[in-house]
Amino acid sequence: MDKLMTLWTGSGLFNIEIGQAIMIVVCLGLLYLAIRKGFEPLLLVPIGFGGILANIPEAGLALSAAENAIHVAKPEVLAALAGALDVAYQVGQAITPDVLGAFKSAYHTGSSAEVAMANNLASDFGYGNGMLHNFYLVIIGSTVGPLLIFMGVGAMTDFGPLLANPKTLLLGAAAQFGIFGTVLGAALLDWMGILDFTILEAAAIGIIGGADGPTSIYVSSVLAPHLLGAIAVSAYAYMALVPLIQPPIMKALTTKKERAIKMSQLRPVSKREKIVFPLVVLIAVVLFLPDAAPLLGMFCFGNLMRECGVVERLSDTAQNALINIVTIFLGLSVGSKLMAEKFLDGQTLGILALGIVAFGVGTAAGVLMAKLMNKFTKDPINPLIGSAGVSAVPMAARVSNKVGLEANPQNFLLMHAMGPNVAGVIGSAVAAGVMIKLLS
């Protein structure tokens, strides 16, 4: 009976908090969107599932050993932790929520040495890091996960269309206005007293406008890890919604005649150009923005493996086994940041609202830039390919193509839009580097 009681008082039904229940429903919703609606399933299935795991009451899968020990709150364990974390607590003292709050905040603001000591002590008392917490530390905490995804994406990217028409790089630059405009939007919300953000948080939210999953995760893990869950979910969800978000904006900013512009066929690009291009990008990074080196370095490395033609084995692995393995862990790790107490917050709503603004602004900036360029170049540019500059590869390029076909059924823009599309990836990695350089 005693033991059955232990099982009952340790059950989820006995312990579940309303926030956890809500988050589980939210995560089931994410799974529904991913599986039935095809919303970026490769990431949202693991993220949604990880979010459910992170909200299982009492399981503590997303908590560190010390956090688990604080949650259980045995007096003798707290007494030991009090020493390590420099919290005023003595055995016998009542364990109020305030006391536990003091422990938690001491843990989160503690130095590396204090945190390590607290976790060591907790593990001596039999508490361990939750599985998702370990995944997060190894995959995102070390920044290796997003970088390896970026390497794999590089190995899957064909820069041919971009090399055939390098001017389209500028469309990828303009669309980054979505990033910085959103930072401004977040600052505005703060100024108007609606929400509170720091500049670090505002910048991390802005990166949603980069429309690039690994870049978003990388930047928010560096600048504002506590917002990572909301930012990643927002980024992937809006990337899936690009076919709904972009067309109205694209149509509003262009005339039917502009949308019907036929672009001249792309010149063939030699293998040599494709091999040398990632090295050119790398050298530009070396000379001008060392802080973009991790992201763009791995991206260029993946692309060089793809194009050089002598390391097929490695390129295949980077595009398949390795990126798949990392994606599984990355998704679960992002899911670990969907814990109720971190996610159910006004900031999350703000992030969701700002995210769609980010996509809209980026789209508009890309289209307007294309129109501007059209005034200076002789080869006409269809402004619809400007919207592909936000990245969201390859969805945004397909949207350009589709809207173009509506205006002129003979007008195939897909390959032309792939240029700004991959340029957008480079552009947002550069923006990420700038923000990390200036803020961290």
């Binding site: 001017k167 500028l170 980054q176 910085f180 600052a187 500049i199 040398v276 700038v434």
Partner: protein, 83 residues
């Protein structure tokens, strides 16, 4: 404007400025690279490069004998189909 707004505006100016500067440099560098490569090196067929890379997969799961037999069968079939 509060301090956060100022910071955000500063960030936007520096950020967009730098992004454009970087990508303009990249446009120029790419154009120069393409010109140099296409001038100073022997012409090379552009498309086969990709095609040849795609085919010789590391783990072809159809063994070569079968593949050859299939190819012959297919060729034979096409020949007949034409007639």
């Amino acid at each position: 404007m509060n301090e956060l707004m100022t910071q955000a505006v500063d960030l936007m100016i520096a950020g967009m400025g730098f992004v454009f500067a970087f990508l303009i440099v990249l446009v120029l560098a790419t154009m120069i690279m393409s010109k140099l490569l296409n001038r100073f090196t022997a012409p090379e067929p552009a498309t086969p490069a990709r095609a040849s890379r795609a085919k010789p997969k590391a783990q072809s799961s159809v063994d070569p004998d079968t593949a050859e037999a299939i190819k012959q069968a297919v060729a034979q079939f096409r020949l007949r189909h034409k007639k």
